[in-house]
Symmetry: C2
Subunit: 701 residues, 2 copies
Amino acid sequence: MSQENSEVTKNTQAAAGRGEAPATLQAQVDEFLAKSVADDLQSVLDGEFPETRQAVRELLNEVDMLPSIGLPLEESREAITGKLQQVLELGLPRGVFKEAQGGTGDTGQSLTAIEMLGHVDLSLMVKVGVQWGLFGGAVGNLGTERHHQMVTDLMNLKALGCFAMTERGHGSDVQSLETTAHFDPETKEFILNSPTASSEKFYIGNAARDGRWAAVFCQLYTPDSEESKGVHCILARIREDDGSAIEGVRIGDHGYKGGLAGVDNGTMMFDNYRVPYEALLNRFADVDENGNYTSPIKSSNARFFTMLGALVRGRVTVGAASGAATRTALDIATTYANLRRQFASDDSLPEKKLIEHRKHRLRLIPAIARSYGLQFATNKLTSRVHELDHRGIDPTNMNDKEQADQRELEAHAAALKAANTRHATDTIQDMREACGGAGYMAENYLTTLKADSDIFTTFEGDNVVMKQLAGKELMTGFARELGGLKPMEMVRFGLDSFSSLLRRRTAADRIIQNLQDTFTNSEETSLFDPAFQVKLLSEREDRLMMSLARRLRPARELSVSEAATVVDKAQDHLLAVTDAHVDRIVFEAFLEAESELNTEQGKKVFEQVRHVYFLSTLLDNAAWYLEQNMLSGTRTKAARAALNDLVDSLGPWSQTLVDAFGVPSQMRDTMLLENYDEMIPLCERTPAAGQKAAQEKEAQQ
Amino acid sequence: MSQENSEVTKNTQAAAGRGEAPATLQAQVDEFLAKSVADDLQSVLDGEFPETRQAVRELLNEVDMLPSIGLPLEESREAITGKLQQVLELGLPRGVFKEAQGGTGDTGQSLTAIEMLGHVDLSLMVKVGVQWGLFGGAVGNLGTERHHQMVTDLMNLKALGCFAMTERGHGSDVQSLETTAHFDPETKEFILNSPTASSEKFYIGNAARDGRWAAVFCQLYTPDSEESKGVHCILARIREDDGSAIEGVRIGDHGYKGGLAGVDNGTMMFDNYRVPYEALLNRFADVDENGNYTSPIKSSNARFFTMLGALVRGRVTVGAASGAATRTALDIATTYANLRRQFASDDSLPEKKLIEHRKHRLRLIPAIARSYGLQFATNKLTSRVHELDHRGIDPTNMNDKEQADQRELEAHAAALKAANTRHATDTIQDMREACGGAGYMAENYLTTLKADSDIFTTFEGDNVVMKQLAGKELMTGFARELGGLKPMEMVRFGLDSFSSLLRRRTAADRIIQNLQDTFTNSEETSLFDPAFQVKLLSEREDRLMMSLARRLRPARELSVSEAATVVDKAQDHLLAVTDAHVDRIVFEAFLEAESELNTEQGKKVFEQVRHVYFLSTLLDNAAWYLEQNMLSGTRTKAARAALNDLVDSLGPWSQTLVDAFGVPSQMRDTMLLENYDEMIPLCERTPAAGQKAAQEKEAQQ
């Protein structure tokens, strides 16, 4: 393994990445090779919509697109609002909407464009996501023709709006929202109210400053019953043109957050606030002028989940954009590691580059490998959303296959949202640390990436909830009836149908089938055998699912509260199912991507990256494999040694691996990544306060 | 195990923690019991200097000590500088200095006081640490009587100063600093210069705004030789009284960082800047007026490490204060988990508190247990520094025992600095996430704790470097000769002396001896048997050390560069030795603390906390134990089940466990921790911008 790269001189890739002129002919050859490998890898990483990626890269390389640091809150917000116009000019928003709505229907392209914003500025990504993805998505996907003008206006930034779902008391548990909308037959209006302090709409983007409208999620009441018809969404004006709150709406400001200073999160409450009945976004349920409630979907539970399902894109982009932010952090830290020298092994030796320290390679390269895999899996998810969107499926009338596809899509969106954002939070933190004190200086972007991405584990659905959701879907073979159930109901349904536990393959079916046809298992099978790799990852998922099903089965005979205890005790087991599932589908996405490479050297490097992903995943779960007697201690030790060899072998390729991410290059124009022979002292660039005052005084004299 | 707490009604502790009136007699009894347990636990956690903790708690409960959020940079700095005066009045600084210097010599008290500041505001803690710990420590410990006036002035805040060690090019590798000081015989002065861009002093606290003086670490040159005498420290004026930079000194401003907005980090460079020769802090090496260099310590290596050793307190306080910050985060998130309800298992059941979800307990309680253990170990370290300080040891003339004690102290300071700060970074992040969106609102403090504590893994020595340092000390049986060696030199010395690998016990010797005397090992030995627990943790450390020694031994026969490769390849192994060592000494500190409890119920709860610490540590390393055939898969599975039972059992005690931390109570006066029946909507407290403008307009009309 570790000898495969010997034809390439160490560290040349680093020079290539920074655009330095290589000194010798050999170095030029090496640089050419590194560049061709980076291009090959990037073509695979860029996925189905490379033109979109390139267009956004160009936009993001304009100087004024750099994240602003240290601006006061209002100025940060103003700066981001200003940048929305540039994104509009890029054409991104039209992709969010169907052609009949004045859009282009380029779903995949628009999702990819929002993802790409995450490379540079998550405040901008979130602002774009709130305006066009969430608010636009609610009006576009939950509304009907009568909301056409609003779609046009919000698309063109004539109407800025909020996605007013979360409340103080309920975030992840949307069905328990407390805001009410009562139909008034006399005036044919809905009356919006916030009946409790905990019903205050909370954390709402666009609320504190810019929003003029809101898509308000609320319990709907019609005259025929005192019971809620369930959570529905109503379009409501919240501010006058001059920015003051409209009467009947109170708006609060969350002020400073851990990050995302450019996003104006706020709160809102409604006091007998009346809106015309046509304000109901009525695609999946309607109320006529007499207050009669109708819906093409009979079950209120199914209706609710159809509505939420129409909003799945938000989850896709949150995961994808946090992936982009992670790649930026890896790009910065890896470039730094190929530049910065610290510590010599001996006075007689030169100081080593950080990348030449084993521990440093173990920090960077497995994280890079996981980012590769997550990007492949996320690209497939984006393509899948695009494809399903273009099938013209009627969500109110899906056949079994369509329902299963939709459930699978939602489960994968939830699982990859959790996996991408977990990886982002862990990796961006580690990359900050890998750059030492310099990583803590705001001007080098890592701390902003960290602070801004932090909330991604929580919003668009807390990761624990996302993983539970995905786990439940997996456990029930994506049976439609189970999707929206609370944990207890899950116990009562479905879990006796062990036959439905057969995993659905989502990736690379043909490739994997071929691998399995030729596979024979034995204690000697190589850990580098892709068929064995698939088997080890699949078995973990299968066994965890089977053992969980056995564990939950007795709960069906118990009382509700006793059964609830059984379910709670199995919560970590359910989450482990989702983790195992993600690990496998990411691996399968790796295999599929591998078949698309064009250069021999690219394939060799890529194969090693896949091995790193596989081995580090295996080792993260080594205890489980040992407990299951699926691997011996000798083999897990061998896996650890092999991982060490691989990061040694890939060390010289580390710069190439991150070059292939295609991070907008101006993110490298930082003090952190200056060459030592070009460094300008900071004290010449930013004199400290007292010194500056003295200089000014001197100039005046 | 899990039945032991049944006498206490669930969730009553939560009410006790928030000062609500319990409803029934039984609830009153429960509250009384919870309070007595919390008091008992706190008396053990508070360690040797409880009065100091209490005094700082009271200071920190004054309203104006709350961390400021969202202030512009200069105002943040100004606010923290102002608070220094309050800390001065508390008497903290005098403890840093010896009686002969006008101090009190209360080392332990001053270290504890600085630690306690970390509960509320790490900017203040760092500012205090820079002024009195680092700058004061340098002048006080490296200087002599001729620097007495400066000690007085800096103690009383008449002279604010910088600890100018780190440079852009070299941070953790202090011996390679580039700043120079040349002795000029004609004027009897040192001439300070910054010869390269990479020699710019970087990240220096107090430099950008407040500092008038700096303790400058530099290569010292005297006329007798063109070679540096090594790194020494010189006291230099850097600013005029009016705050402008003094001629010959250029000062830069780092501006915004990831956090610590109240600390004015900056840079400095010297241009033929002359200082009198008496400015050399000359305790360990002197230059007379003719430029003759003398030192009571012959070896330059030994001199360097003696000098650094005198500065060990900085490392102790950084670890300790990050521990305090972590406990605050745990306190906030645990109180929230006992208050906040979300999700019902079934429509017929009430929504569950977060703490009633298994996954949530698994997030909070093992982290609380580790915080307990780290605090016990850190308390012992503080007491040890205090004790050694009071022995009046002459660092220039230590006997073997004293040298060994000093080395052990430094290794433990380094190891616990790394362990505490790693735990802080991971836990504060996880507690932010455990509070969902509310955790991301700056007003609730978690994001500030996160942003401020982030750099603690890096400063006062990067954690990887700290762990290497500690590992090397452990590997060489603390032999003096090896302490300062580069990795290669480590190979050449000492590692053949396997006999010196016997672990030194640092804690609870008698207790552990008693345990071991009665211990018999078998496959049936309970995982709850403390003797078996000690054995499992000790064995991991021992075996890792032995296998590392075997692995490095062949390197002695190799060339320098080949041997360097061997050492690099073993880097992760060396780091694992330190981790195993910390896990063991923390466990031993647990055992020692356990013997100090006074109440029966306190002992029962405490024992479970120790089991949680032990089992979660064991499970984090389950793969290793399985690979070593020290535990069977059946036993590691049993350990996982036992950990789950324990967190279930401790769930109702979770509030009591964090109450015992004694976090200044106003950190709980946040919106996050408001009771649902007392909530005031945010929109009534902070109207959003547009709304506010409208209200003002209305008021004017």
